[in-house]
Structures are given as C-alpha cells and as structure tokens.
Amino acid sequence: MSKDLSISTFEFELIEAWLEGKLTDEQAQAFQEFEKNDPNWNLKVQEVQSLQENLETYLIRSELNEIHQENISNHSSRLRLIPAWMWAVAASLALVMVSWWGFQELFQGSHERLFQSYYEADPGLITAMSGTDSYEFERGMVDYKERKYQEALGFWEPLLDQNPEKDSLLYFLGMANLELGKYAMSEDFLIKVASADQSEFQDDAHWYLGLIYLKTGEIEKAKQQLTSTTRPEAKSILEKLE
C-alpha cells in the first residue's frame, strides 16, 4: 500500500481472473509477460488480492452486525426504558413531521420528489481519460470529488476551448453544474454528451438529463431521456410516470 500503484483495467481483470484460477490460455500468457517485465507486478497482485479480501471481510462484518441487530438485540426491553415524557416528545415530533410531509405534498410536485429520491451525484473519475489527461482536468476532478464544484469548474471551463468535443470534460462540466443547481447549463453540456456518436458517458448523460427534466417539470422530455438509458432505476421512474 505504501507505493502508489497504477493498475489498468486490463491488469485488474487479469489479476482477478488469476486469483479465481480462471485464466484463459491467452491471459495466462499475458500474466507471465507481466511477471517477467513489470517489477511491480507482485505488488499489484497483492494489492488487488488484499483489497478483495478486506472488502469481503468488511461486508461480512456489516452483515453480521445487521443479523445481530435484527435477530438478537432486544428492542422491546430498551423501549421500555424510555420515560413517558420522551414518548410525548416523540409523538409531537412525529406529528410535526407528518404535517411537514403534508406541506411537501402540497407545495412540492411529485416529479420533484421523484428527482430527489433518485438523484445521486456521479462519484467522479479516478484515472485520467485519454485526451484530457491534463493536470487541470485531474486537479478539477479532485475538487469535484470533494464537492467543491465551483472550484472544479474553474479548472475545467478553460479546457473547453481546446477540447470542445471531449466527452469526459463535457460530462463532468454537466455534473458540476447540476450539483450547483444550474440546470440549464448542465442540460447544455449533457445534451452534447448524449448526442455524441460514441461515448461511455452517453448512458449516464441520458439518465441525468431525464432527472433534470423531472426537476424542471418537462415530463415528456424526461420520459424520452429515461427510455434512452439502460439504468434500471429509469424503468421504475417511467412506470411511476405512467
């Protein structure tokens, strides 16, 4: 872990296949080549293996805690320890929450709520994308991931002059604007990505465009975008819109 290893998709898949004992002949050959020529190869293998194992351990521990909570923890005895006045406070709070929800119902459209329940920011990229792997793009990505969207835009916007078609740049400009609530700006960028000939961000661009149109109440447009994405959540939104 001490060394900052860069592991490509190809290397990652190769190592995972090796760990599973499922290398094809071709992969086995590639694996041997890496073993011979990459001085960091063993470290990379160890890193992927330990990441996999630790992740599984963490997930098992979480599951055990859940099982304990659901099957062993004695909720009823704890509830009885709460004094009566706290129940009164809890009941009033519940009443306030119910009324608040009622107001939300009145003042907030159901489409807005759909937006809110499905919207989740894109986590951002780690590895450099070919073409825009400039320092500025990477630097902006660091800010983006720290939710400093305005700062990220500060790095990315100047790059547009030289890379007006670059999908990763356009997509994350769209996402940063979306996070800042600048829906029209975000829409402009995402439309370019969604209509690009070939982009790995196309699917996500359709998805977020669909959400933007839900937010702005343009339901027909939202439906159009949501039918163009393969995101499974899109189907459930479409069903709810019917």
């Binding site: 872990m1 900052d4 592991i7 998709t9 990652f12 898949e13 890193e47 992927v48 330990s50 990441l51 996999q52 630790n54 992740l55 599984e56 351990t57 963490y58 997930l59 098992i60 521990r61 599951e63 055990l64 805690n65 099982i67 304990h68 099957n71 062993i72 989740e120 920011a121 894109d122 986590p123 951002g124 990229l125 780690i126 590895t127 790995e200 699917d203 393969t230 995101r231 499974p232 189907k235």
Partner: protein, 185 residues
C-alpha cells in the same frame, strides 16, 4: 423459519452457502450458536457486549476457514461445534492475555483456530477501507456488494443493473479503483 433451518442442508449446500455468504445460512448459524456462546461468556466473567464482539470475530474466522478449505464441515452440527469452539478459545485467549497471563495453559486448543490475520496493520487497513467504502456512491456500494459479497457472476450483475457485461466489468473496475484511491487519501 423452521427451528433449525440449516440442519436440513446437505454438506454441499452448507459449504456453498458459506462460500457465497448466503444470508440465510449466516443468520441460521448466528441465531443457533450465539446464545450458547453468550451463555458461556456470561458464566465466565464476560458481559453481553463482549460476547457479541468475541462471537463475531470467531464467526469471521470460522467462515474464512471454510472458504479457504482449511476446515470442511461434515454437516451443520460440525459447523456449529467449530464456531462454538473458536468462540470459546478466543474468550479464553482474551482472559489469559489480560488477567491470567501467568497461569498455565488451559489446554483448550484442540483445533488450530489461530487467527494471525488481525494485526494492527490490518485493522488500520480495515478502518481505511470502511471509511472509503462509506464515501462511495450508492451504485458502487451496491455493485461491489453484489459482486464481492453476494458472489453474483458478472453476467447476473450486468442483468441486475440493466447493463452489458462489459459495462458491468468497467464499472466494477472503476468502483474498485475509486475505493483503492480513497483508502490512500
């Protein structure tokens, strides 16, 4: 749920259930063995929280030994016995380390249940991993959970998200890379 839902499982199904982290096998084993361990620990100077910690650590050790093929349970009773034995040893270990250091061996190690993996370094990594994992987006969390915990195949994973297999592979890589980098930041 029947009274003892894992006693019905064949050896093969039990081992597969453990390898695939099946919730029902985990729950059944937990619910069956925890009360016995708790009883033992309460009787031997421990409290309920300690019982939970010791049992969960022991569960993880037992679970991994089966996954690695280091212990092959003949049936569910063997698995329950193994888990109880590890829990008991861990508790005795703890008592010895903190209170009875100078006492003679309690001779309670009929099985090799040594657990050399829990060094401070590993715990440090685990804390970083947890912090990193919690920072991931919901999609990444779900994807990693389905693949690395529920042991879904790439094809099933792709289908469950409505992706192609290639997209599933790419996203899996992307999420693991994000996690790897988050652990270092």
């Amino acid at each position: 749920m029947p009274k003892d839902p894992i006693s019905q499982l064949s050896q093969e199904d039990l081992i597969r259930g453990i390898k695939d982290n099946e919730r029902k096998v985990m729950t059944a084993l937990y619910v069956e063995v925890f009360p016995k361990v708790k009883h033992y620990i309460l009787k031997n100077n421990g409290d309920e929280d300690e019982a939970k910690d010791i049992f969960q650590e022991a569960f993880l050790v037992a679970w991994k030994k089966v996954k690695k093929g280091e212990f092959i349970p003949q049936n569910s009773s063997a698995m329950k016995g193994f888990l109880f034995q590890i829990s008991k040893n861990k508790w005795l270990d703890w008592l010895r380390s903190s209170k009875f250091k100078r006492e003679q061996s309690l001779n309670a190690y009929p099985l090799d249940v040594s657990d050399d993996s829990y060094s401070g370094d590993l715990e440090d990594k685990m804390l970083k991993l947890e912090a990193g994992f919690l920072k991931l987006g919901e999609n990444c969390k779900e994807l990693l959970k389905r693949f690395y915990f529920q042991k879904m195949s790439v094809e099933d994973l792709a289908q469950s998200f409505g992706w192609t297999a290639q997209t599933a592979k790419n996203n899996k890589y992307r999420c693991m890379e994000t996690l790897r980098k988050l652990m270092k930041s």
